[in-house]
């Protein structure tokens, strides 16, 4: 029986090939990492002699080794704040690597950790990004920087001063967005093998791109980039952006292998994962909205403190700038002022996490939009409608430089209000309120960027600084298709998927282009940078597959067909233009009996080069790198089309609060998505549901928590709370499909969509429920204990 996806059979029978399953080289040894128990401490010395003396222990790598064997990772930071793969003289967060033991097995390696003596001088810590900047007593993490501000950018679009001057109403809120991460079930895994003879470092890992991290690692290790070989297995156990940030460990384990002289494997354990893997940033912000009486948004001002933790590492400051092109969301206002601080604190490091920067963005905007509606006495759905970018305006250039490809936002809103029976829900709410129940309805909407433009990273530099640098641009994705002599097809993709069904989709669409049965196409995922095609943006992140990934595969297939068509034409002595491709054969239009099959044409390319048309190379092995012409560098006004396609989602949910316990019951959640043409509804739905639960986690359950002194509190899955089967509320989804003019199949990304709006939507719904008591949810996650606390305060207020 055929299964729904090609990936399924191996995964269902325990025959997948994940990183920890590989045994590509003999004599693999195992690493365990000693980590700082302190949020901030000077390292005065390390004595590893007792560890080294243990049976089975091969080597111990410490800061001194790392400082001498490697350089800091290059980053977008113009300043110092050196970031190495391991703490050199100071540890700056709980969990920062301090030493690496290599031993015969992981058990022994962990035994040895307790024998390493580190002389720490604990220092005061700071964890709040705003305090780290404004409090003059806050400890400085990087003395050479002299401040905890890693980066400060002010960006201005349109005429925000005028907008705020002429506004009828200005609302301003202080907001806190939590630090959380998608915690893929498969943790980081790295196997590094240093070949001393050839000076080649081969690293197997579950890295999912972008391969822009390859040069970053090569430069840090000081080895020629063509001697750094990244190999990625075909199966990765979830990524959600997190595994982009595995690269410091690729460098670290590479160094460990070099020092130990044996191949070294390190599998991150869950404690390491929670304390020191990667997460989204926590953000403290002030968001201010200027509105006219009728609810028209005139402009927005934001002051942002984004917390990147102890060091600044690429691809940060993507947390702040990756959504730049869609900073206005689905709204048509043109005036925007952004004052962004990217800040060091004694928390763990950050990087892409599903939605990268967008959950933060929409939490800010959607909260103040709701407060504006409330103050003007307008319906929150109506206010949103008034400000929507109209369908006729696409492709739409946002004030920040985004080029929205297509969308019918109003149709989405209509569909939502209709599906949820919004008017009916409001009636229900009125009844509930009359009974003293706390029922709330919340909205959130957002524009979902996909296919990051490599150009956005340059926004970290000012326009002036950018003049002196080589520009970056593009969003390239490559595919290679090989057709063998019997007409069987092998496709190599370079998207390093982690569950997004790329093999299935590529197989389906390549087979469709070739008009052959799907089982005649085999898709190879994974990566080997030494033997396969890749380029800087290769990989899976920013929901790029349904836009650029599949486009690349289809265009490559078409190039193969062009070649075969030339071969066929030559064979039957016709002009290639006179041929059509029908039912797997090239045939002369109007004379179908004169035809050459796909298989025959391919066979000629392999067996009979003498019969090839002049100028045609033998063999069928076509690689095509596809990019988007819309992916341009930032302009001198700080405008950049930070992504290349833009979906849209509008959400609504109904919540009820238990007055006595503060418990929040999400009774129903609705989401309407316009992500262009949906290539496969089952798979798209799976993406939305998964991203919905990640958003739910951030809104209500998940947080990497620290106390005020920097101690880390959520080092296990008993404390870091991923939603289970029983936490997930009923979700109803609907689709509007406005084809993207920028992609081959009209499709675009969808995998991060719901994550971006769920936190805002839940905050708005809980606020709406608590509206009679004057309580607003301006920080997440919203928990029963917090809600109960607010209810008590409101009760006290009420009495006084």
């Amino acid at each position: 029986m055929d299964l729904y996806r090609v990936e399924d059979r191996r995964l269902l029978t325990g025959h997948g090939a994940f990183l920890d399953d590989l045994q590509p080289v003999p004599n693999i040894h195992h690493a365990a990492i000693l980590r700082s128990p302190y949020p901030h401490a000077r390292i005065r010395g390390i004595d590893a002699s007792r560890a080294l003396a243990m049976e089975g222990v091969v080597s111990v790598l410490t800061g001194a080794d790392v400082a001498s064997m490697s350089r800091p990772f290059p980053s977008a930071l113009p300043r110092q704040a050196a970031y190495y793969s391991l703490a050199i003289d100071k540890a700056r967060f709980v969990g920062e690597p301090v030493a690496v033991v290599v031993a015969r097995n992981r058990y022994l390696a962990e035994d040895a950790l307790s024998r390493i003596v580190v002389d720490y001088e604990p220092l005061p810590a700071v964890v709040d990004p705003e305090q780290a900047v404004i409090n003059p007593d806050a400890p400085i993490l990087h003395e050479d920087v002299g401040t905890n501000i890693a980066l400060h950018r002010t960006l201005r679009y349109g005429d925000p001063e005028e907008a705020f001057r002429t506004a009828d109403l200005v609302v301003k809120r202080r907001l806190r967005f939590p630090k959380y991460g998608s915690t893929p079930l498969e943790t980081f895994g790295v196997l590094a093998s240093w070949d001393a003879a050839e000076e080649v470092l081969t690293i197997w890992s579950n890295f999912h791109g972008p391969f822009s991290m390859h040069p970053v690692v090569a430069q840090a290790l000081g080895i020629a980039s063509n001697k750094l070989r990244f190999i990625v297995p075909g199966d990765i156990g979830g990524g959600f952006g997190i595994k982009t940030s595995i690269y410091p460990y690729m460098a670290l384990i590479g160094l460990a292998s070099r020092l130990a002289g044996v191949p070294v494997k390190w599998i991150e354990d869950r404690q390491e994962n929670l304390s020191a893997s990667s997460s989204g940033t926590d953000r403290v912000s002030e968001v201010e909205l200027a509105a006219a009486k009728d609810g028209t948004i005139l402009g927005i001002r934001m002051k942002i403190y984004d917390n990147v933790g102890g060091y600044f590492r690429p691809p940060e400051p993507g947390c702040t700038f990756r959504p730049l092109g869609n900073y206005v969301g689905g709204y048509s206002f043109r005036n925007l002022d952004v004052d962004a601080y990217i800040v060091f604190t004694n928390k763990s490091l950050t990087g892409p996490n599903r939605g990268y920067g967008c959950p933060h963005l929409y939490f800010g905007i959607e909260r103040v939009v709701d407060e504006m509606a409330q103050q003007l006495g307008l319906d929150p759905a109506e206010v949103r409608r008034r400000n929507l970018i109209p369908k006729s305006a696409f492709p739409y250039r946002t004030p920040t430089g985004g080029l929205y490809d297509a969308g019918d936002y109003e149709a989405c809103l209509d569909k939502l209000l209709d599906a949820a029976d919004y008017a009916g829900l409001r009636r229900l709410q009125a009844e509930a309120r009359a009974q003293g129940r706390l029922l709330g309805i919340g909205f959130a909407m957002g524009v979902d960027p996909s296919v990051s433009n490599m150009g956005y990273v340059d926004i970290a530099a000012s326009a002036e600084e950018r003049k002196h640098r080589h520009p970056k641009s593009g969003a390239t994705q490559g595919t290679t298709i090989q057709v063998d002599d019997l007409g069987k097809v092998t496709v190599e993709i370079s998207t390093t998927p982690q569950g997004q069904s790329h093999e299935t989709m590529v197989r389906r669409h390549v087979a469709k282009e070739f008009q052959i049965p799907e089982h005649e196409v085999m898709v190879i995922s994974g990566m080997d940078t030494a033997t396969r095609g890749w380029t800087i943006p290769s990989g899976s992140y920013s929901s790029r597959f349904a836009s650029i990934g599949i486009s690349s595969a289809v265009v490559t297939a078409r190039k193969v067909l062009e070649k075969l068509q030339r071969i066929a034409a030559h064979q039957i002595e016709a002009n290639a233009e006179d041929l059509e491709y029908v039912d797997g054969s090239f045939r002369v239009k109007g004379a179908p009996e004169r035809s050459v099959s796909f298989r025959h044409a391919a066979g000629i390319a392999h067996w009979d080069p003498a019969s090839l048309p002049p100028g045609t190379d033998p063999g069928i092995y076509v690689t095509h790198y596809h990019t988007m012409p819309t992916a341009l560098p930032p302009d001198d006004q700080d405008r950049v089309n930070s992504s290349n396609t833009y979906g849209f989602m509008v959400d609504m949910c109904v919540v009820e609060i238990d007055r006595e316990t503060g418990e929040i019951q999400v009774q129903k959640y609705y989401g309407v998505h316009d992500s262009g043409v949906i290539l496969d509804h089952k798979i798209a739905e799976g993406q939305i549901r998964g991203s919905f639960v990640h958003g739910l986690g951030g809104a209500m359950y998940e947080e990497m928590s620290y106390d005020a002194d920097g101690a880390f509190l959520t080092g296990s899955f008993m404390d870091y709370l991923c939603p289970t089967f029983l936490e997930v509320p009923p979700l109803e989804t609907h689709y509007v499909e406005t084809p993207s003019p920028f992609t081959v199949l009209g499709s675009k990304g969808i995998g991060e969509s719901a994550t971006e709006t769920v936190p805002a939507c839940i905050a708005n719904a809980v606020t709406d429920a608590l509206r009679p008591l004057g309580i607003e949810v301006n920080e997440l996650p919203v928990t029963p204990s917090k809600v109960w606390g607010w209810l008590q305060e409101a009760a006290v207020h009420d009495q006084s």
Binding site: R10, P184, M718, F725
Partner: protein, 174 residues
Amino acid sequence: MADMRKDSAEDALFEARDVSCTVNGQIYRAKAEPRRLLSDFLREDLNLKGTHVGCEHGVCGACTILLNGRPARSCLTFAVQADGAEITTVEGLAQSPARLTRLQESFSEEHALQCGFCTPGMLVTATALLQDNPSPTADEVKHYLSGQLCRCTGYEQIVSAVLAAASGGQKGGE
């Protein structure tokens, strides 16, 4: 450490010992020191990589196996405890990769797996559920599987898959 040990019988308590068990119908024998987790024993010593390890503290459920027919976290079990036991891992659910169980088929049909990392634990646990309760309600499925984390799917499709397998009647995977 040696100085504290009283005699060789005492030493033996710490040493690796033979563990023999039947896994997916095949008899295996290998040495394991007492602290070796059953999850590592299965994966590293018996080379059965289908059982996945996601947290090593019992919360995520990816490593769930059937131990003498009942679901158990292999990360919270020592290999030595499995001496003489009958174990089923995900590799043992289908007769062969070509002949899947109804449950495995419906996981695919319902798109109940994405990255597939949690899938072994999900399948094993759901198999146990269907043995005890051949026609569970959606609520019963959710409760039974509540100790299994999935970070990809959002869970709904997994519930549908188990219900579909139940209503379609169990075949294979016994």
